[in-house]
């Protein structure tokens, strides 16, 4: 029998080890798996490389994971967001490494990681400082730069609905990086707003097929990042 459901967020993140690469879904707060991130803070794994578009806001969720000293390196496109003060401070004092990647290149590197493609050529960043030191090649008279795939030990993502096979749907623009991160990680951990029975999701409407998912925890009423930031909540 296949049943990917687990009983708690703590159980889901239990196998994350020091030094692992962890992809975290979300674009700002939309799609941020805040309960799974908080479980990872409780779990305590350190020296992590984290892949996310941003660096979190306030002192909860991803920002709290960074503030807790668990992240050695961020791979992201935009570390400077409203209400983001944790990352800039650590970055300026040299306590965290940053690999800055254009947003589309970040997405494609993740997708390539999940698709078994080790590298690809892209026109993005040609002629800019972000292409320096990278291999380039000309196709049909245009210059392209080579970018490497990114894979991860774990992905933490948030879904709207999940069934026990791991088939997923998402809510609106909260989908963002989640489907490609699910593909690129060896272990994909999902927090879903709602667990449904097999067959409840029309196969035509499955966004992430269950083959890309390893563990699911139902979090029926997830916390809202912007609300916590507004209230000045600090985790833990």
């Amino acid at each position: 029998m296949i049943d990917k459901r687990v009983t708690s967020c703590a159980a889901a993140v239990a196998d994350i080890k020091d030094g692992d690469t962890v992809m975290i879904g979300g674009f700002g707060e939309a799609g941020s798996p805040i309960e799974l991130i908080h479980a990872l803070i409780d779990h305590g794994a350190k020296n992590l490389t984290v892949v996310n578009n941003n660096t979190g806001s306030g002192r909860i969720g991803l920002a709290a994971l960074i503030e807790n000293g668990q992240v050695a390196k961020m791979i992201c496109s935009y570390p400077r967001t409203a209400n983001s003060m944790v990352f800039p401070e650590l970055y300026r004092s040299g306590k965290i490494e940053l690999e800055l990647v254009p947003q589309g290149t970040l997405a494609e590197r993740i997708r390539a990681g999940g698709a078994g493609v080790p590298a690809f050529y892209t026109p993005t960043s040609v002629g800019t400082p972000l292409a320096e030191g990278k291999e380039s090649r000309t196709f049909d008279g245009e210059e392209y730069v080579m970018e490497l795939a990114i894979k991860a030990d774990f992905a933490l993502i948030k879904a709207k609905q999940a069934d026990r096979y791991g088939n997923l749907t998402f809510n609106k623009t909260a989908r963002n990086f989640a489907p490609i991160m699910a593909m690129a990680a060896t272990n994909t951990l999902v927090q879903a707003n709602e667990m449904v029975e097999l067959g409840d999701i029309d196969p035509e409407n499955v966004v992430t097929p269950g083959i890309f998912v390893n563990q699911i925890i139902e979090v029926a009423n997830p916390q809202q990042e912007s609300k916590l930031v507004k209230e000045g909540v600090v985790y833990p």
Binding site: F27, G28, S77, Y91, G104, A107, E108, P123, S125, N171
Partner: protein
């Protein structure tokens, strides 16, 4: 562009004594958005373009965080924190909208499926190089977002910018001194003073704002302009 650049702040600061206002720049740019276009608007003044697209033209707005068919700002009842634009502000989705993941969203961009992108600028060069993501200051936190992907992939790149910096320095230059966002990517510039096309022969001034002369613009531009206004 996916995120706030310092430029958007500069542009919002003080209007020139003569020339177009921020709204008028957006309005002028909107005249050039054709019916049926798929369009990505950067934040700041470019966002305003959507308000001025002439009636009767159907335009689909793309936001790179996964939505085609972005609508206007939501009412309090419509507001959903899971439905935001690239600037992370709440938006709505029009009837006929579609959601997709980041891989697909940037395939639309890089694969040249988006017709027009309107962005702000810190500097633009004679050859159409664009600098709009970093001043290269050593203490700055570098952040690029989707700007480099947009200029590399979208078919037509329009720039809306004040013609000079707050202190009066030229922003249209022989070479950009700031780190580039893309090389030879800009097609047209809408400034508060004029409209300029980037061509193989050089920068072609095609239109002047009311009461602005060619010489007035030339004096505020570090590149020799070709005057196409007769």
């Amino acid at each position: 562009m996916s995120n706030t650049s310092p430029e958007s702040k500069t542009q919002e600061s003080k209007p020139q004594a003569i020339g177009w206002s921020r709204e008028q720049m957006a309005q002028r740019c909107a005249q050039d958005i054709e019916d049926g276009s798929y369009v990505n608007l950067g934040i700041g003044i470019p966002e305003k373009v959507a308000q001025y697209v002439p009636a009767g033209r159907e335009v689909i707005y793309h936001t790179e965080n996964g939505l085609l068919g972005m609508g206007t700002e939501p009412s309090a009842e419509e507001l959903d924190p899971d439905l935001i634009n690239a600037g992370k502000k709440p938006v709505t989705a029009i009837p006929g909208a579609a959601y997709f993941h980041h891989g697909d969203s940037f395939s639309m961009i890089r694969g040249k499926h988006i017709d027009v992108c309107v962005l702000g600028a810190m500097q633009v060069s004679e050859k159409g190089d664009l600098a709009n993501w970093s001043t290269g200051a050593p203490d700055a936190i570098p952040a690029v977002g989707g700007a480099m992907d947009l200029v590399a992939g979208v078919k037509t790149i329009y720039i809306i910018t004040q013609h000079t910096t707050k202190t009066g320095a030229a922003k249209i230059l022989p070479q950009c001194s700031f780190p580039l966002t893309g090389k030879g990517v800009v097609n047209r510039i809408y400034s508060d003073l004029c409209v300029i096309d980037v061509t193989d022969d050089g920068l072609l001034l095609t239109e002047l704002a009311p009461e602005v002369s060619f010489d007035y613009v030339q004096a505020r531009t570090d590149v020799t302009l070709i005057n196409a206004v007769k």
